[in-house]
């Protein structure tokens, strides 16, 4: 019988934390390999804004000391890792004295909301379209319309975002162009605020959905065609079951299993697309934050945002992994 043993759970958690450790180490190393000095860049920005900064050398030196950039690399690494363990992601260099945790804390819910809703929509819509494409009883019109709706599948999310923004925000003015909620609204559980969030979220979410669901539809169609050739489909027909019941209980139920696996694998790629879409819509989520951090060479923020994105993705994969025995009775995650 399907079930998760403690042994498996522990092994799976070990892999999860190992992933995080490798990710944290890479995140620590990579920005330091890039040319440029973050403090100098920041002071340069200040002087650009103010015209002149007095004692720039001293400021640079003082901040380097403050951020510990003068310490040997391994000391910085140890400090970084101990900080991570305590949930402390350090300070943002460009927006000192804001901490990374603070900035991420403000941005993360928006991204999780956006990705979550978009994933939910494209997974359901994509698989449903794929199932209908393969089903013998689908009306012909639907079978023609679905492939036509998939023309956006071949364009990158970035372009889809631009296209949607231009058409529905700029030309038609149906949706706001930027940000995640209307200016002047206080975040809270008010009807007005929620409506505003939904209104602002539709375009970015759609930008992700229209470029993604086609892949899922095609994958699902392929799976459905395979299932249609299975022996149990002939038996289902011979049994005189109702066609709709056969569709969801015999066909979709079996075809969806590999799709769930594919979803777990694709989460990383998905996050990539979301980052760019967020930038297009100036959506105040992790994507925008990470791009700002990169532009400002803000080590602390780059490390923090990347780490949080990786953690969230790894967590999503972990959850899907652990839920396999629930969706496929043939898989049991019992340790051997």
């Amino acid at each position: 019988m399907g079930g998760i043993s403690l042994n498996y759970l522990l092994r799976r958690l070990l892999v999860f934390f190992l992933t995080l450790w490798v990710a944290a180490t890479l995140i620590f190393i990579i920005p330091r390999l890039a040319p440029g000095d973050p403090i100098a860049a920041m002071v340069a920005r200040l002087s650009y804004q103010a015209g002149f900064v007095e004692n720039a050398d001293l400021i640079i030196e003082g901040w380097k000391e403050r951020f510990g950039l003068n310490d040997p690399v391994y000391v910085q690494y140890l400090r970084f890792m101990t900080g991570l363990l305590g949930g402390d992601l350090g300070y943002s260099m460009a927006r000192f004295p804001s901490t990374v945790t603070e900035l991420v804390g403000r941005a993360l819910p928006w991204t999780i909301g956006l990705v979550g809703v978009a994933t939910f929509i494209f997974f359901i819509v994509g698989n449903l379209c794929g199932a209908l494409l393969a089903w013998a009883r689908t009306p012909r019109l639907v079978k023609v319309l679905i492939p036509m709706s998939m023309i956006f599948t071949s364009i990158p999310p970035l372009l889809a975002g631009l296209l949607l923004s231009y058409t529905f925000a700029f030309l038609l003015g149906w949706f706001p162009q930027t940000y995640s909620y209307g200016f002047g609204l206080t975040p809270g559980l008010t009807l007005e605020f929620i409506a505003s969030v939904l209104h602002h979220g539709i375009l970015p979410a759609m930008a992700i959905v229209i470029v993604t669901f086609g892949y899922w539809a095609l994958g699902m169609r392929g799976m459905m065609v395979t299932i249609e050739g299975e022996d149990y489909m002939i038996l289902a027909q011979a049994k005189g079951l109702k066609p709709f019941y056969v569709l969801y209980r015999y066909m979709i139920r079996n075809a969806i299993l590999p799709q769930m696996t594919a979803l777990a694998v694709s989460i990383g790629t998905l996050v990539n697309g979301v980052v760019l879409v967020e930038v297009i819509f100036n959506y105040n989520g992790m994507g925008t934050l990470i791009v700002t951090a990169l532009r400002e060479q803000d080590f602390g923020l780059i490390q923090g945002t990347s780490f949080i994105l990786i953690t969230t993705s790894a967590l999503a994969v972990l959850i899907i992994d652990l839920s396999y025995p629930l969706i496929d009775p043939r898989i049991s995650l019992e340790g051997r």
Binding site: M1, E230, D231, Y232, I234, L235, A236, Q237, A238, K239, G240, L241, K242, Y245, R249, Y250, R253, N254, L257, D328, P329, R330
Partner: protein, 345 residues
């Protein structure tokens, strides 16, 4: 043998008339089943045999209205207890299925839905035909009853197909097949993928359940030895044609059609090693069958007449038909010669 013959009456429950099934291909239609007619009597077990590709499974799926594209039924009539199956509307056909005609597939293969519990797969067919069952306790007792019929333990009620052995899966298929007491049950190679011991047990279960419930059974298979143990009559098919239908004792004791003779000859014996007399495979192009008799290209006794006229089934005795010119009264001399040759070989 005598006991078996008692169980079948003279009432016809399934009448197949002039059934023709083609498979459409870009190079023309392949004739899978070519104008076959036969009757199945109440309580009878009919074995359908022939080499691979002879159309025995297509015939069965044609009767069940399960011919998958590119196959299609060209013409014919299939009458089950007075109902013309080919005239049924879609919803009527759905309701007729499993109550009129049911299928026991090769259960050791992938015939059960891997993501549904055994009980749910039996419940779904009951509820599809008898409506939602409110009394869950009675439903469970009913399924336990079915399990008992086929010798399955109650503990598999909540199991998934992958947790069962091939023989158990086959029994689940049998239990499912008779759950609604259908008029006719068709078992398609129901014992093919099992080892000889389980094969025998499953075959006996099949016959036992059939007798208890009082259905008529068509068993498709190529294991002539096993079929001899369980069927009342055997229908021999060759390249889409039915060449002989005979009571099982006759087929083995004195096969009439030259093809049946070769088929019986080729049953391997564990006592002796004998050379195979039959060459493998149907030799002609199934899109362009030869004129006259379908078997004449491989028949040792064929003469000019066989190329000119197609042999029609000839009643040689009760419930025994053979489609061969040798059994035409006009060619009695040839028949005597043919048998003499056969006896000498």
């Amino acid at each position: 043998m005598t006991k078996k013959n008692e169980s079948s009456s003279d009432r016809v429950v399934l009448k197949v008339d002039n059934l023709r099934i083609h498979y459409a291909t870009p190079q023309g239609d392949v004739i899978a089943v070519s104008d076959i007619s036969f009757k199945l009597y109440e309580g009878e077990t009919l074995g359908l045999v022939g080499e691979s590709g002879c159309g025995k499974s297509t015939t069965a799926y044609g009767i069940l209205q399960l011919v998958q594209p590119p196959g299609y039924i060209v013409h014919g009539s299939i009458e089950v207890a007075g109902t013309e199956v080919l005239d049924l509307e879609e919803e009527e056909l759905r309701k007729f299925r499993w109550t009129g005609l049911s299928l026991i597939p090769q259960g050791a293969m992938n015939s059960l839905n891997p993501t549904m519990r055994v009980k749910d797969q039996i419940i779904d067919v009951i509820e599809a035909h008898e409506g939602k069952q409110s009394d869950k306790e009675a439903l469970r007792e009913r399924i336990f009853g079915l399990f008992q019929n086929v010798g399955l333990p109650n503990r598999i009620y909540n199991m998934y197909p992958h947790e069962l052995s091939g023989g158990m899966k086959q029994r689940v298929c049998i239990a499912m097949g008779v759950a609604l007491h259908p008029t006719v049950v068709i078992a398609d190679e129901a014992t093919s993928a099992l080892d000889v011991v389980v094969q025998r047990i499953v075959a006996q279960t099949l016959v036992k359940v059939k007798d208890e419930i009082g259905v008529s059974l068509i068993v498709i298979g190529h294991d002539m030895g096993l079929l001899a143990q369980i069927v009342d009559r055997i229908a021999v098919m060759y390249a889409g044609k039915m060449v002989e239908i005979a009571p099982v004792a006759n087929v083995y004791a004195k096969p009439l059609h030259p093809y049946t003779q070769l088929l019986i000859e080729s049953i391997p014996s564990i006592k002796e090693r004998k050379p195979l007399k039959i060459t493998e495979g149907i030799t002609h192009d199934p899109r362009n069958p030869p004129s006259g008799c379908i078997f004449r290209l491989r028949c040792p006794f064929a003469w000019e007449h066989c190329a000119e006229v197609e042999p029609l089934p000839i009643d040689v005795e009760a419930k025994h038909e053979v489609a061969c010119h040798l059994f035409d009264e006009r060619f009695e001399d040839r028949r005597a010669n043919a048998y003499a040759t056969l006896a000498n070989s």
